[in-house]
Symmetry: C2
Subunit: 168 residues, 2 copies
């Protein structure tokens, strides 16, 4: 976490995700419960994309008194999105994939159709074009989602070891 204490719009960036969530709960008259606390902690332990089910499994490895039920996980994930701590990346249709969206720089994704991997990248250009396009169409842009589809470096390499006639 940065030591600086500056604010970006309404959001005080010097807070940890846990503090930020507490702040959010307070503003909304919602309560700080051990379950909510456990979930934010686990969610921000590492920075990978995850699905609700990944998180549920992760929580199952926790000592018994910290167990959280499935509905509560779903409810809390929704709250974390509302709080601006998580973002939903809908690249997989059918189930939701989440990623950190707090104190983490704007970025986009490359999605490998072979191994289903998701890779992040950043491009200032994209944002510029986005805003230009939006302006041109009188659209008030608040964000965007770009996913480049294709084959990642590793899968491309693996493929070269097969003959081009090797069908599945």
């Amino acid at each position: 976490m940065s030591q600086e204490d500056f604010s970006l719009g309404e959001v005080n960036v010097s807070l940890t995700p846990i503090e930020r969530f507490d702040e959010f709960l307070q503003t909304r008259g919602m309560r700080r419960t051990p379950q909510r606390r456990t979930i934010v902690e686990e969610v921000f332990k590492r920075h990978e994309h995850f699905e609700a089910d990944d998180l549920i499994k992760q929580l199952q490895d926790l000592p018994g008194e910290r167990r959280v039920s499935r509905p509560t996980v779903y409810r809390t994930l929704g709250e974390l999105v509302e709080a601006g701590l998580l973002r939903e990346v809908a690249y997989n249709n059918r189930r939701s994939v989440y990623e950190h969206d707090y104190g983490y720089p704007q970025h986009d994704h490359m999605h490998c159709t072979e191994c289903n991997g998701l890779f992040e990248f950043h491009s200032d250009e994209i944002v510029k074009i986005r805003d230009a396009v939006a302006r041109e169409h009188h659209f008030r842009a608040t964000g965007h989602r770009l996913t480049i589809n294709g084959i990642c470096k590793d899968c491309a390499k693996a493929r070269r070891h097969h003959s081009p006639l090797d069908l599945v």
Copy 2:
């Protein structure tokens, strides 16, 4: 449909979607059935984004002998995607949205979070940047999906008629 007879990669662009689908079925040893025919016809009657359910409703207005069951609609939509005639736009998670992807120029979307509307736009720049980014990361790009989120012109206008304190 264009009168010209030129090919783009493997795809003969002079075919109508219906012909193209027949060709696809033939190559795969699949059969031309009245149900499949009805579905392609209805799907390509107009160029809007649609969900499986929209199509099912549209089919219900057809004379009785052309009725198609729900499972067949889902099965055929999948085939149309495989055939490269349709493309799945996963902007809504939970249900699939389809759009024409045959003889239709590359484009991206603006998604209005207010009215849920989807608007198309085209930008050559985006494709250039996409390829540059992919090259830089040794990623073999085959396509991309960009959705700009925000408020469309009409919803923005409607909003100005409310006081900023008008919550929900």
